[in-house]
Structures are given as structure tokens and as C-alpha cells.
């Protein structure tokens, strides 16, 4: 079955192609094809996983050769899949969560005329994401990388008859492309230094490479990861990406695609191992973004944007972990998996709320929904507990380990990274509790035409499954370090360093901060009345509400000068470059105007010219001695 893993990509891809080409006659049942394709991928993945579990941990990496891709003289690359515990983890996450979200979307998108197209895009995304994680070379990974970007673009802009949604889609794609420059340049560096782009050859060549080379590659990979995973400074697109239908936000902009950056870093572990500076940068970016995301999350009133900020922040955790080296890789992926579950669950919950509230997203118009939507409240609550890191829910097992790992190290680094992680936990508790309480508790602040109701079973069942996962997955995988051992063939065995503080102290501190955060949120948003319009706030809150002015900065630094530059260039091209050309032409034309006066039309003066010319020629020939 491991050799058949190409089916994982092929089936959703074929389904996507079919749905796009089938036309209107497939409108009535096309979505079930999409669900079927995703489920089939899950089944294939599951069988492969079971088969892999039957192997020794050393033999679990399995290479699948597909076909000769680029048979260049020097750049000689085969398309192949690398099926190992790391990619298998992603396969399971993507196909499982993906299938649930497919099912959910059947109901969620029921009234949309273009549901078939929606499922085609979702399938396309699944195929691309699986290609991304299964690829055995950076170039093939890049195909998946751009593929998910495209799917993301299509889905964010799914309702592109609203101009701002279309703009959001463009923004996502373009910012991602900035990240792609990083990946392209990283590949250029790899090809220059190692002459290859497949993981095997690159990693084999790493020991011979200099630190400077590896650092350069690592930093470029980091740029790519920042673009895709919405890390500082390329995070600005994620909030706008919430323009897409909510299942998309759940699948792509929470559970899977945005974590691709973390995957890239972990996959490139051998490179980062040789480049401590790059590693530190990864961790620093992660730490910075986790705080940044948390701060933004604290101020957002749009439920999806708050969740998006939370995603940014949580991926910050993962990046932080991935930047810690072998100690953190497994935890990064672990958190990625649990996060995939609880964040997807929460997004679906948010979708359920919107479904019941006429697509209202402003949390200030929610409140007291727990009575109207019990299932949603419970499933969301489980996700909330998980993200807070309350034991024994999933988040506790993954996040706490990251915080602990952040405190390992020398000098001042553990204090900064660890401190950030610790504070981040408190902030997370605050903003997630705020979100939870504002939505489900307190007084009802609905408008009259809203009649909140529970969503149909097609939506709630996936939410329940994800909630169960949020609750117990962490516990199951963490028992006996199962997950860490599972990933060890890929991430390498980590010498478990000692944190600068005792592990117990860190855990207690974390829990205390979480409790504090949640308590403050309860006081402000659960117990007290929430004003229906956002009150005037401090400068910091305004900054957070505006995504820390990232958009304004981008607009001021890139967009506006860019627009001016473009306009100037368009003008200059017409006036200067083309003007010079036209001026040359006109100069000739004017010369012609002048000289044409000698052409007076008199035959005799033409003849005279000829004779004079003849005389001159004779003179020259004679004088020339001929």
C-alpha cells in the first residue's frame, strides 16, 4: 500500500478535475464525489499508516518513485514521494480533518449555487497539500506549496463578487508569493552548493557545507515558511483570508495549509541543524509572532479574525519549537496536529454560529448562545479548553512541552523565548476565553431578525468528532512519548536538555497564567455586560484591532510607492523611452522635410545634380591616381 500512496494525490486531483469539467449536470451530486474522494484518500492513508506501523521504526521511511520529471543535464530530478512518519502524520491530519470538513461543507454550502465548484477547489487543495507533504524534493514540494496557495486563493475569493473578498484573495496569493521567493532562492542556493534539490541528496551533502551556506539556505526557507504560515512580517494576509467560506478557514487557514511552513522547517531539520543562527531566527520569529498574534487576537471583535489571530499565534508556538532544534521538532509537529484538531473544531463551531446567526461575525452581537446551540457550545468549549492547555486536554500536552522546551538553552535565550511562550499562554487564555464568553455566555445581544438555532447533523457530527479529538488526542499520543518516538526517525533523537527552571515550576506557572487570563476574561466579558459597539480604547488596543498597523505599513512602504512607481514608469516609458524613439523618428522626418526642398521637381536640376556628381566622381578618381 505504501507504493500506492500516489493515489492519495491522484484521487482528489482527479475528483477536482472531474468536478470542474463536469458542468452543471453534476451540481446535484457533485459534492458527494468530493467527499468520496477525500474519504478515499483518508482510507488509503489509513491503510498505509497501519502498514507503516507494522514496520520497524528504521524502515518506516519509504520512497516511492513516480516518474522522471526533469531530465536536465545537471538538474536531474525524479518525481517521487517520501512516505515517512512525518509525512504520514500530515497525511492523516489532512485527510481526516479534510474529510470531516468536506462533510461539514455539504451542509454549510447547501444554499450556494456554486457548491460543486467549491468542492472541486477543496479537493484540489487536499491533493496539493498531500503533494506538499509527500514530495521527496524541494521542487516537488514547491509544486504542492503553490498548489495549496492557488487553492487558498480560489477559496478565499470564492465569493469574489464582493470586491473586497477578491482583494483579500489577491493579497493572500501575493504575500505568499513573497514567501515563495524565499523558497526559490533557497533552491537556487541548494542547487548551487549541492547540485541537487531532492531531500536525500541535499541532506547527504549538508555535512560538507559551510555554516554560512546553510544559514543562507535556512533563512531563505524561513522566508518561505513565514509567507505560508503567516509569521511576522508576512502575516498580514491571514486575517483577510477569513473572507473565504468558514470551512475553508477551518481546513486551510487553521488546520493544514498554514502549518506547511512548520513542516518545511522540520523537514529541513538537517539544514537548520548546521545553521544555528538560522535556527535562532526561526525561534525568535516564532516567539515574536506568537505574542503579536495573541495581542491582535485580544482586540478583534470579528470571531473569525480573532480565531485567525489565534492561529497565527499558535503557529508562532510551532515555529518557536521548530527553531529549538531536535528538542522541539516533535513538539512542533505534535502541537500542529492537536492544533489542527481543536482549531478546526473551533472554526467549524464559529461557522455553525454564523450559520445560525445569518452570517453575523461580530462577537459583540452574540452572547448567550450556549442555550441556543448546545452542541456547538460543547464542542467549542472542548476546543477552548484544549487551546488553553488545560489538562488533560490536547493542548496541554503539546503546548506545555513547547514552553518547557523553550526554557532549555544557554545564556539569555531561554529566558526570552521561554518568557514569551509563557506570557503567550496567558494571553491565549485571555483572548480565547474572551471569544468564548462573548459568544456563548453573557447576555444575548442579537438583533431581532436573528433566530439562533443549532446546525444540522451534517455539520455537528464533524464538530463532535473534532471535539473528541481535541479532548483526547493529545493524551493518547503523549502517553509514553508515543508521538515523539514515532517521529524520531525523521527528526532525530534529541538529547533532552534540562530547562533553566524545573519543569514542574514551568507547568505550574503556565497553568496559573492561563487561569489568570481566563479569569480576567470572565470578569470582563462573561460576567459583565459587553457593549454592542467597540468602546473607545487605548492606543495599544487600536493598534491590535488594526493588526498592529501592518497593513498600513505595507500600504505606506510597498503599495503606495509601488503604485506611484508603476504610474511613473508607465508615464516614463511612454514619454522617455518611447519618446526618445519617436523623437529619433521625427528628427529623421524633419531632416527629410528640409532636404526635400532640394527635390524641386525640375528634371533639369536633377540632371544637373547627376552631372555635377559625375564631375566630382571623375575628379576624385583622377586625383586618386586611378
Amino acid at each position: 500500500m505504501l507504493d500506492l500512496t500516489w493515489l492519495l494525490i491522484a484521487v482528489p486531483l482527479a475528483s477536482a478535475a472531474f468536478l470542474l469539467l463536469a458542468g452543471k449536470r453534476a451540481d446535484r451530486w457533485g459534492h458527494w464525489v468530493g467527499v468520496g474522494a477525500s474519504s478515499a484518500a483518508f482510507v488509503v492513508g489509513l491503510v498505509a499508516l497501519i502498514q507503516m506501523l507494522g514496520l520497524d521504526s528504521e524502515d518506516r521511511a519509504h520512497a516511492v518513485h513516480l516518474f522522471t520529471w526533469i531530465p536536465g543535464g545537471e538538474l536531474n530530478l525524479d518525481a517521487g514521494l517520501l512516505v515517512d512518519p512525518l509525512s504520514m502524520t500530515f497525511v492523516m491530519l489532512v485527510t481526516f480533518v479534510g474529510t470531516l470538513i468536506h462533510v461539514y461543507s455539504v451542509a454549510y454550502m447547501e444554499h450556494d449555487a456554486s457548491r460543486r465548484r467549491f468542492f472541486a477547489y477543496l479537493n484540489l487543495f487536499v491533493a496539493a497539500m498531500l503533494l506538499l507533504v509527500l514530495a521527496d524534493s524541494y521542487l516537488l514540494l514547491f509544486v504542492g506549496w503553490e498548489g495549496v496557495g492557488l487553492a487558498s486563493y480560489l477559496l478565499i475569493g470564492f465569493w469574489n463578487h464582493k470586491p473586497e473578498y477578491a482583494t483579500a484573495a489577491n493579497k493572500a496569493f501575493v504575500v505568499n508569493r513573497i514567501g515563495d521567493i524565499g523558497l526559490i532562492l533557497a533552491m537556487g542556493l541548494m542547487f548551487t552548493y549541492f547540485g541537487a534539490l531532492d531531500f536525500g541528496s541535499v541532506f547527504a551533502a549538508v555535512p560538507q557545507a559551510s555554516t554560512a551556506q546553510l544559514t543562507a539556505i535556512g533563512l531563505m526557507l524561513l522566508v518561505a515558511a513565514c509567507g505560508k504560515s503567516a509569521q511576522f512580517p508576512l502575516q498580514s494576509w491571514l486575517g483577510d483570508a477569513m473572507a473565504g467560506p468558514t470551512p475553508v478557514s477551518a481546513l486551510i487557514h487553521a488546520a493544514t495549509m498554514v502549518t506547511a511552513g512548520v513542516y518545511l522547517i522540520v523537514r529541513s531539520a538537517p539544514i537548520f541543524e548546521g545553521a544555528p543562527a538560522a535556527q535562532t531566527t526561526v525561534a525568535a520569529i516564532g516567539a515574536f509572532t506568537l505574542i503579536l498574534g495573541a495581542l491582535i487576537g485580544m482586540a478583534k471583535d470579528d470571531i473569525k479574525k480573532a480565531l485567525a489571530a489565534s492561529t497565527m499565534s499558535q503557529i508562532g508556538y510551532m515555529m518557536l519549537a521548530a527553531g529549538l532544534g531536535p528538542v522541539g521538532y516533535a513538539f512542533a509537529i505534535f502541537h500542529l496536529v492537536t492544533h489542527g484538531f481543536f482549531k478546526a473544531g473551533m472554526f467549524l463551531g464559529a461557522g455553525s454560529v454564523m450559520h445560525g446567526m445569518n452570517d453575523q461575525v461580530d462577537m459583540r452581537r452574540f452572547g448567550a448562545l450556549r442555550t441556543a446551540m448546545v452542541t456547538t457550545w460543547v464542542t467549542f468549549g472542548l476546543g477552548w479548553l484544549a487551546i488553553l492547555g488545560v489538562p488533560p486536554f490536547s493542548g496541554f500536552w503539546s503546548k506545555d512541552k513547547i514552553i518547557e522546551a523553550a526554557f532549555i538553552g544557554d545564556d539569555v535565550q531561554p529566558w526570552i523565548l521561554g518568557g514569551a511562550a509563557l506570557i503567550g499562554a496567558g494571553l491565549t487564555a485571555f483572548y480565547m476565553s474572551r471569544l468564548f464568553f462573548m459568544t456563548f455566555h453573557g447576555k444575548a445581544r442579537w438583533t431581532d431578525e436573528q433566530h439562533p438555532h443549532e446546525s444540522p447533523a451534517l455539520m455537528t457530527v464533524p464538530m463532535i468528532i473534532l471535539a473528541v479529538g481535541s479532548a483526547f488526542l493529545g493524551l493518547i499520543l503523549a502517553t509514553g512519548d508515543r508521538f515523539v518516538t514515532w517521529l524520531e526517525p525523521v527528526t532525530g533523537h534529541a538529547e533532552h536538555g534540562e530547562p533553566v527552571l524545573p519543569a514542574a515550576v514551568i507547568m505550574v506557572a503556565t497553568l496559573l497564567l492561563v487561569a489568570l487570563g481566563a479569569w480576567i476574561a470572565w470578569r470582563k466579558y462573561g460576567a459583565a455586560d459587553v457593549p454592542e459597539t467597540a468602546p473607545a480604547a487605548s492606543l495599544a488596543t487600536i493598534a491590535a484591532r488594526n493588526d498592529m498597523f501592518q497593513d498600513s505599513v505595507n500600504r505606506g512602504v510597498f503599495e503606495r510607492p509601488g503604485t506611484h512607481l508603476t504610474r511613473t514608469l508607465v508615464y516614463a516609458d511612454a514619454a522617455l523611452v518611447d519618446g526618445a524613439v519617436d523623437a529619433t523618428a521625427h528628427a529623421f522626418a524633419r531632416t527629410g522635410e528640409v532636404t526635400r526642398k532640394t527635390q524641386n521637381g525640375q528634371v533639369r536640376s536633377y540632371a544637373l545634380t547627376m552631372v555635377v556628381g559625375l564631375v566630382i566622381v571623375i575628379l576624385v578618381v583622377v586625383q586618386g591616381g586611378l
Binding site: 524641386n600 525640375q602 533639369r604 536640376s605 544637373l608 552631372v611 555635377v612 564631375v615 571623375i618 583622377v622
Partner: protein
Amino acid sequence: MVNTVMFWIIAALTVIPALSLLFARKAVHVAMSVVLVMVGLAAAYVTLSAPFLGMVQIVVYTGAVMMLFLFVLMLVGVDQREDLKETIKGQRWIGLLAAAGLGAFLVSIIGRVTLPTADTMPSGDPEAVAIALFDRYVLVIEVLGFVLITAAVGALVLTHTPRLRPRKTQLEVQRDRVRVGADPVNKPMPGVYARHNALDVPALDPEGKPIEHSVSRVLEIRHQTQEGAEFRAALEDPSRKEGDR
């Protein structure tokens, strides 16, 4: 060697009439002078042991080409006088200078070189010429035949004036005439009902009045017409009428 006397005669016979090209006023005079030049040249050819060519020269140039020129001159009007005053600024002096310079250069260059003179005379009799023309140069001759035919057709085309609209029928002519209010019938011939020799006397209308325009315009210009009044007076004077009878 060539007869020196002969050369000088030929030189005089060609250059002097040739100068008329520059100074003669009437084109006919020029044409006749050029005929002389051509004859001179024919003489030169004969002197240069090309007798056949000389004959051809006379036949073609004096006989055909120059006559053609004369025909054309007559066609366009012999009295096409040329105003010798120059209209293009500087044309005369620069032109003269250039032509003179050209001649001077040619003469000076040719005068400086010495070319070997072969002892053998080329045989310019018709037989030798025919052998050369229809043997070595037969292809050229063929091509020249084409050129001549083309030229002939070309001249036909050039001088042919196509009819732009269909020929008018008599009926149309008549209608047009009525429309513009001209004489509905033929103009009366001069001298009708007149007693004099007809051409210079206006015709008389049925009322006995002379019709002035029945006399040719040319005669009017030359003042060779007879006044109609005189005859009218004669007609109106019964006494003279009797007397004349």
C-alpha cells in the same frame, strides 16, 4: 592611320552643328543641325573602318530617328517657341560649368593616356558584322528584338488616348444642342445667298440679314472678311439692285 584632313572635316561637321543644340532658337533648326551631326558621325564611322555601321547610322538616324523628331515637332506645333531666359536660379551657369568641366576632364584624361593602336584593321563590312551579330551575339540580338517590340507597343500605348465615355449618338448630339440653346440645325455655310465668292462672305438668314458667325474665325483674325453691312446696304437699296441686274 586615319586621314588627318578627314578628321578635321568630320570634327567641324559635327561640333559646329552640335552647338546649335545650345544656341538655336527654333527646334526645327536644331533638328536639321543634328541631322548634319549624324551624317558627320556616319562619315567618322566609315573613316574608322566601320563602313556598314556608317551606313546604318545614316539610315537609322538621319533617315528614321531624326525624321521622327521632325514629325513630333510638327505634331506639337513648329512654333513652340522657347524662351531662352533661364527660370531656375543658377541652372544656366552651373549647368554650363558642369558640362564644360565634364568635357574638359574627359578631354584632359583621354589626352593624357596613350592607348596602343592595333596594326590590324577591324573588318567592318556587312559580312563580318553579320557573323559577329548572329553568331556570338545572337542571344543579345534576340533580346534586343524584344526590346524593340516592347518599345513599339509602349509607344502605341503612350500615344493612344482611350475613349473615356461611349461615343454620342446623333440623337444625343442633337438633344444636347437643343438643350444648350444652340442652333437647332447646322450652322449655315458662309456665302449662302451671297453674291460674292463665298468663304469670306457671311451667309444670309431668311430675312436677308447676314449671319456673322458663319464666316471662319481665322479669316476674321486675318481681317479678310467682308463686312456684312455692305451687302445689306446693297440689298436694301433698290436702285442699285436694278442697276446690277
